[in-house]
Symmetry: none
Subunit: 258 residues, 2 copies
């Protein structure tokens, strides 16, 4: 049950999200929702403009109550970061600051490694308009910056949280399984080759008697083209039965063409 | 300036986002913003609940006016998809439908490859509460499903658009680096959606007159299953013509069943 394990791990922990001076309750709520979507639960707020608790935040959180209920409020960034060990600043890089800048998927791999070594990982996000102040950015080990369309770069706060949380969650798949799981939990049996071929022969016999596979020098190529359509679909057993029924129904009472 | 080139390419095109029956203008606007952040500009709306234009959509789009201004409204999914050639459904996979499911980053690579071959790529998103209806999902080649915390999986509409658009943008880096190119040198044109639908309707009319789609309460489901087989195969134009010929040949001289 690798999937379950991963999820439980994520729900029990993951990096802390620190929103510095957030303005709108809606954005705090939407950030909480995005966090929980991707298994993050520890939310800290530094000096939220409209106080705390915040009705709009709860409403926008849309049932991510456990994140909202557990959120902690601090007066300063310094207090919010107190026991953090590995800190990132999600922001555009300031011109005059020399600090490594990572894309979210790169940061996620680093965070995952730190987290799995038991380190406390925190990610700061700045207020809606201004982004993080330089004095806060400087507290971070590295910057996380989302590559965007340079002609329209402004990401909403909750969307930035979403992308960072999403990459965190994705990185769990990478770690756990080497690639993303594509489950088809109750996938029915694929058709056996012999049954597919029998269906083709049924179809082709009907097409022969309808004089469709003409002229004879094109017959083989037409057959190949028709078979190719169905082979690309990777038919299931049940689908082969359905197609047999379709062929039978269409041709059943057809008069022989003389 | 590889970055600039990629961006300009992205800004000039990219897949079409089709929002089917969206309810809240805020979500349409936030989707437009997310699209433009990641270089997508072609937005189509199928029957938006609150009509169009929509003041709240424009306000939530936060200066992504070019996407809102260019958005086109259609009455049906069928019209919105008319000239699309490669269609994805962003949704949770329905239990009873057999269709490949991709994570957004996998889908992005496929879409990027299709787009670079000049194919029209569309991604459908369903309405806020229900998600896409099965009859719409069946029109897609594959499903795009965002892996989330199973204990809290519900993604907001605009957030789903954001993640798919984000991965599209990310995949541009991969393509430029030459890692993904899967050229099919002289691939023939894929069928347009409207031509595939016309073929389905031809087939279903023949099956109706053969009394195959019975009993009536199972008709819709049988149709869905049959359509799904062909949609998985991603038909080429020539193949649609071949299948029309097959249907015609099989049923041509069939006697009406009384």
């Amino acid at each position: 049950m690798a999937g379950t394990d991963r999820t439980q791990k994520a729900i029990l922990g993951g990096p802390t999200v620190i929103l510095v001076n957030p303005q709108l309750g809606e954005n705090i709520g939407a950030s909480a929702r995005a966090m929980l979507n991707f298994g993050l639960t520890d939310l800290r707020l530094v000096n939220p403009r409209d106080g705390w608790p915040n009705r709009k935040a709860r409403s926008a959180a849309s049932h991510a109550d456990l994140v909202i209920d557990a959120a902690r409020v601090f007066e300063t960034t310094r207090e919010a970061l107190a026991e953090m060990q590995v800190i990132y600043a999600a922001t555009a890089r300031p011109r005059d600051m020399l600090k490594d800048e990572l894309a979210p998927h790169e940061a996620a791999l680093e965070m995952r490694a730190a987290f799995s070594r038991g380190q406390k990982v925190g990610i700061m996000f700045g207020p809606e308009r201004q982004g993080l102040a330089n004095d806060d950015i400087v507290l971070a080990r590295k910057i996380i910056s989302v590559p965007t369309n340079p002609a329209y770069a402004s990401l909403n706060l909750a969307q930035a949280v979403l992308l960072v949380a999403y990459e965190w969650f994705q990185s769990g798949d990478v770690i756990d399984a080497g690639r993303v799981r594509r489950t088809l939990p109750d996938e029915p049996p694929l058709a056996k080759h012999q049954d597919v071929i029998a269906m083709f022969e049924h179809l082709e016999a009907e097409l022969d008697s309808a004089k469709f596979l003409k002229p004879v020098e094109k017959r083989q190529r037409m057959i190949r083209n028709i078979r190719n359509i169905f082979q690309r679909a990777s038919l299931y057993e049940q689908e082969v039965r359905t197609l047999r029924g379709v062929i039978k129904a269409l041709s059943e009472s057809r008069e022989p063409i003389v």
